[in-house]
């Protein structure tokens, strides 16, 4: 059975590109635009990986991770953010992120590599 990935990303083109790429490799990908909706799906479907943006409408990526921690839900998280200052990376890791990717700097190929490293195929 294919591994299931949830993407929370509000920028539609980025979301589509990510979804396309990861689906092509063979993952089962679901995507939502905001944190609240994402949390619902996580609780309901328990995906194998969460690909999470930080700047989101409503609750942001950090808050999503805080909520997961509070509710004792643990799953691999790959943060995909617009900027990657050391403080931001540190904060994300403390909240439970397993890896951190800066969108403009990393190619889809690199995203693929990181995902594979985290959950395999």
């Amino acid at each position: 059975m294919a591994k299931r990935i949830l993407i929370i990303e509000d920028e539609i083109i980025l979301l589509e590109a990510l979804k396309e790429k990861l689906t092509n490799i063979g993952y089962e990908v679901e995507a939502v635009y905001d944190g609240e909706a994402g949390l619902e799906i996580i609780k309901e479907k328990k995906p194998d990986l969460l690909v999470l943006d930080i700047l989101l409408p409503g609750i942001n990526g950090y808050e999503v991770m805080e909520r997961l921690k509070k509710e004792n839900i643990s799953l691999p998280i790959l943060v995909v953010s617009n900027s990657g200052q050391p403080v931001e990376i540190e904060k994300a890791k403390q909240l439970g992120a397993n890896d951190f990717i800066i969108k403009a700097v990393f190619s889809l190929k690199e995203v693929e590599e990181r995902v594979k490293k985290l959950i395999g195929i």
Partner: protein, 510 residues
């Protein structure tokens, strides 16, 4: 010593000096007037007595007839003289020390000192009185009583001043002799003079003290006011105007100057605040704009990547690759701008780690430089062995950015066929990474501004129009954060060498 103490000391000395000299002068003056008054009185008494006693003599010559072994014992003059002395002392309470009566031939015909009688003495004062017929009086020092010093020493005169009086003796309008007399001023009088002087001196000192207090307050007060107003300036508060210092002198001027200084500082600090605000807004704008640009650029990047994967038409693939290249350049520029803005805002975060291995840090990037250099038709030389066994405390990502910027410049500004060389020097405790090229070089006048933001060398602009001029600014800041140094040497059209000096950890050196 505080200014107040110094000034007080100075004023005290000045006022005391002035006080003493004025007291002394006053005292002298009083003494002189007192003595003069006494002198006049004396003279008048002597004159009256002389006229009273000696007008009784019928004939002067007769009375001078010598009698007995010493000459004048029984002379009428001698008798008169004794009566004169008694009368004088009774009248004035003062003592006659010496009294001589001269005749017209400089002969002492009578004296209260017998030894002097019959002596012929050349006395200038007596001669003068004879000549003019006028009385004469002097105030003398005892030592200077000439020509009878021995007598006076015998008498042990303690007085500091002695009155001398010369009175002509006239009988029927004929000058016949001169009475020379020496008086010691009354002791009581001297005491009175001293008392007066003491009181006056004391009073004067009191006045001096008051004047002194007034002066020192007058001088010090404005200084203290201004000093108090100066204090807040050090804390950056420019509100302390001086209001109380309004007098029309240097102090008043100082107060005015101080106020205009405060006004200047106020407008200056307002101006600085405004400039800071503009600067802050500028970097904030850059920050926001760059962030906003990043999202669409990364969208283009990923979509292009997908398109490149799928496209089978080689021609279209080539075009897409070109777009991708441009997009990458834009992303890089945006990163540079963001980093520059962060540096300026002081939030360019570093994540230092100990014992970063220089070889593993650079091996990958250096390989990629080699590929880029070959693609541009450049020779690239380095030895990976040099990088072995060098460990440092570093933020790997940032250090890579710094290194990239310098090598990219070498790659960009070296014409085809040139050589780019990376060498290492290892002075004690440091590593110097030398990146040299045979490129277009940097003009000498451009070298000092090389690491300033947005600066690009004149020949760099004409060789390669694109470029933000931010790279070396960021590099310098990164190297500085690593306690390192960066500098460059260059010769136009011959090439440039950049030196990056970084401290290495000692414990892991062989």
């Amino acid at each position: 010593m505080s200014l107040r103490l110094k000034l007080n000391f100075f004023l005290l000395i000045v006022f005391l000096l002035v006080g003493f000299s004025v007291s002394f002068f006053l005292a002298k003056n009083i003494e002189k007037t007192e003595f003069n008054r006494l002198q006049e009185d004396n003279q008048r008494i002597v004159k009256t007595l002389t006229q009273g006693f000696f007008s009784d003599l019928k004939t002067w010559e007769e009375s001078q007839t010598p009698v007995g072994p010493y000459g004048f014992e029984k002379s009428g003059v001698k008798e008169l003289m004794e009566r004169f002395i008694n009368f004088y002392q009774l009248l004035t309470g003062q003592k006659i020390i010496l009294l001589n009566i001269y005749n017209d031939k400089n002969l002492i015909i009578a004296s209260n000192f017998k030894e002097l009688e019959g002596m012929k003495v050349k006395n200038p004062s007596v001669e003068k009185v004879f000549k003019t017929g006028l009385a004469l009086s002097e105030i003398e020092n005892p030592k200077e009583i000439h020509p009878y010093p021995n007598i006076l020493i015998d008498k042990k005169i303690t007085a500091q001043k002695i009155f001398e009086t010369y009175q002509p003796i006239e009988i029927e309008s004929r000058k016949v002799g001169v009475i020379e007399s020496y008086f010691e001023p009354e002791l009581k009088l001297r005491e009175r003079i001293q008392q007066t002087i003491g009181i006056i001196s004391l009073g004067f000192l009191l006045i001096v003290a008051i004047v002194y207090l007034f002066f020192s307050r007058m001088i010090l007060k404005p200084i203290q006011i201004i000093r108090k107003a100066t204090e807040p300036i050090g804390q950056g508060v420019f509100s302390g105007y001086v209001k109380e210092v309004t007098q029309k002198d240097e102090m008043g001027k100082l107060g005015e100057d101080f106020n205009s200084m405060i006004r200047g500082l106020n407008s200056l600090s307002g101006e600085i605040g405004r400039l800071k605000e503009i600067g802050r807004m500028k970097s904030e704008f850059i920050s926001i704009a760059a962030h906003q640009l990043r999202t669409p650029l990364s969208g283009i990047k990923w979509v292009l990547e997908l398109a490149l994967e799928r496209e089978t038409n080689q021609e279209i693939k080539n075009w897409l690759a070109k777009i991708n290249e441009l997009n990458e350049r834009m992303i890089e520029m945006i990163s540079d701008l963001l980093n520059a803005a962060r540096i300026e805002e002081g939030r360019f975060g570093f994540n230092f780690q100990k014992n970063i291995d220089l070889l593993s840090l650079f091996q990958k990037t250096i390989e990629s430089y080699k590929i880029k250099a070959e693609a541009k038709g450049l020779n690239f030389s380095y030895s990976s062995d040099d990088f072995k066994n060098l460990y440092l405390k570093a933020d790997s990502d940032k250090l890579k950015i710094a290194f990239d910027n310098v090598v990219e410049n070498a790659l960009n500004y070296t014409p085809k066929g040139g050589l780019i060389k990376i060498e290492l020097e290892k002075p004690d405790g440091f590593v110097i990474i030398k990146i040299s090229d045979t490129g277009i070089g940097i003009k000498e006048e451009d070298l000092p501004r090389l690491f300033s933001k947005f600066f690009r060398g004149q020949n760099a602009v004409s060789f390669q129009p694109s470029g933000s001029g931010i790279g070396l600014f960021i590099t310098k800041n990164i190297i500085k954060a690593h306690q390192g140094e960066i500098w460059a040497e260059s010769k136009i059209n011959q090439g440039t060498t950049f030196y990056i000096k970084l401290p290495v950890s000692r414990e892991l050196i062989n």
